[in-house]
C-alpha cells in the first residue's frame, strides 16, 4: 500500500490512459463487426487495470486487498454469464 517515492509513474500511467482513450475512439470508427465490442471491452479492461494497479496501488498491495478487488468483478462475471446462458439459449 505504500506510495512510490516519485510521482513520475502517475504521469506515465495517465499518458497511457490517454493513448488508450484515443485508440478506443479511433477503433470505434472501424467496422469490425462483432469484434468492435470485444476490442472496446479489452481496451476498457486494460485501462481499468492501469488505474487499479497504479492509482489504487494494488500492484504493491497484500493478498486480501487483491482478493477484495477481484471478488466483485468475479461475481459480476458469474451473474452475467449465467443469466446470458438463459437468454442466449432460448428457442
Amino acid at each position: 500500500m505504500k506510495a512510490p517515492a516519485s510521482t513520475a509513474v502517475y504521469f506515465r500511467v495517465t499518458g497511457g490512459l490517454f493513448l488508450l482513450l484515443a485508440l478506443t475512439v479511433s477503433l470505434a470508427f472501424v467496422d469490425m463487426g462483432p469484434l468492435n465490442i470485444v476490442v472496446a471491452m479489452t481496451i476498457a479492461v486494460v485501462k481499468a487495470l492501469l488505474v487499479v494497479l497504479y492509482f489504487m496501488h494494488v500492484k504493491s498491495a497484500d493478498g486480501v486487498t487483491r482478493a477484495a478487488a477481484c471478488a466483485g468483478v468475479l461475481w459480476l462475471i458469474v451473474m452475467v454469464a449465467l443469466t446470458l446462458s438463459d437468454f442466449l439459449t432460448r428457442t
Binding site: 490517454f18 482513450l21 470505434a28 486487498t65
Partner: protein, 215 residues
C-alpha cells in the same frame, strides 16, 4: 491538533491496524459497488443481446466528442487524485490541498458537461417517462437503451457528486493540518473511491457512446 499525533480509535491496537482496517473496508465497499452497477450492466447486456440493432441505432444520438472529453476529464482527475494522495502521504500539505481542489474542479467539470448532454436529451424528447418521442422504427428497444443510459450515468453522476463532497471535506481538513506523513488514511481511502468512480466511466463510455460509431 498536534502535527505528529496520530489519532487511533480505541478499538484498534495501533495505527497500522487502523489503517489496514480502513483500507480493507473501502475495498469491500467497492466490491458492493461493482455489484450495484453490475445489476444495471446485466440489464444492459441482456437487452443489447436481444436488440443489437436498436441499441446501435439509438447510440448514434450520443455526442461522442462530449463523452470523450468527459472521459479525458475523469482520467485527468484520477491523476490529480493520485497526486493528492501522494502529497498527503509525504506530508506536503499545500500540494495535497491543491491537488484535491483540482480533482474536485475536474469532477465538477464532468458534471457540467454531463448536464449539457442531459439537457440535449430532454430537449430532443429522449428521456423515457417524460414525453418520450423516438423517430426510429424500434421505439420500445430504443427506450430501453435510454432508460439504461440514464440509470447508469445517473447513478454514476450521483457517486461522483458524493465524491466531490467527500473531497471538499478532506480539502478543508488538509488545509487545517489534520493529516501528516504518518496519518493520511482518509485521503487514501477517498482516493480509492474516486478511482473506482473513474473506472465505472471507463466502461460506460464504450458501452454507451461507441456501439456503432462507424455508421
Amino acid at each position: 491538533m498536534g502535527e505528529h499525533r496520530i489519532p487511533v480509535a480505541h478499538q484498534f491496537d495501533d495505527s497500522v491496524q487502523q489503517r489496514s482496517a480502513a483500507t480493507l473496508g473501502m475495498w469491500i465497499f467497492l466490491a458492493t459497488e461493482v455489484l450495484f452497477f453490475g445489476g444495471m450492466v446485466l440489464a444492459y447486456a441482456v437487452y443489447r443481446v436481444l436488440n443489437p440493432e436498436a441499441f446501435a441505432r439509438a447510440s448514434r444520438v450520443q455526442n461522442i466528442l462530449l463523452g470523450g472529453i468527459n472521459t479525458a476529464v475523469l482520467l485527468t482527475s484520477s491523476c490529480t487524485m493520485a497526486l493528492a494522495v501522494h502529497a498527503a502521504q509525504h506530508g506536503q500539505r499545500r500540494r495535497s490541498v491543491i491537488c484535491l481542489l483540482s480533482t474536485m474542479f475536474l469532477g465538477l467539470a464532468f458534471l457540467v458537461i454531463k448536464g449539457v448532454e442531459y439537457a440535449e436529451k430532454l430537449h430532443e424528447h429522449l428521456v423515457p417517462g417524460i414525453d418520450f418521442r423516438y423517430a426510429g422504427a424500434d421505439a420500445g428497444a430504443a427506450q430501453l437503451y435510454f432508460i439504461l443510459y440514464f440509470l447508469l450515468t445517473g447513478f454514476h453522476a450521483l457517486h461522483l457528486t458524493i465524491g466531490i463532497g467527500l473531497l471538499a471535506v478532506l480539502a478543508v481538513r488538509s488545509a487545517l493540518g489534520y493529516f501528516s506523513a504518518e496519518y493520511s488514511n482518509p485521503v487514501e481511502v477517498a482516493g480509492l473511491y474516486w478511482h473506482f468512480v473513474d473506472i465505472v466511466w471507463i466502461f460506460l463510455y464504450p458501452l454507451i457512446y461507441l456501439i456503432q460509431a462507424y455508421r
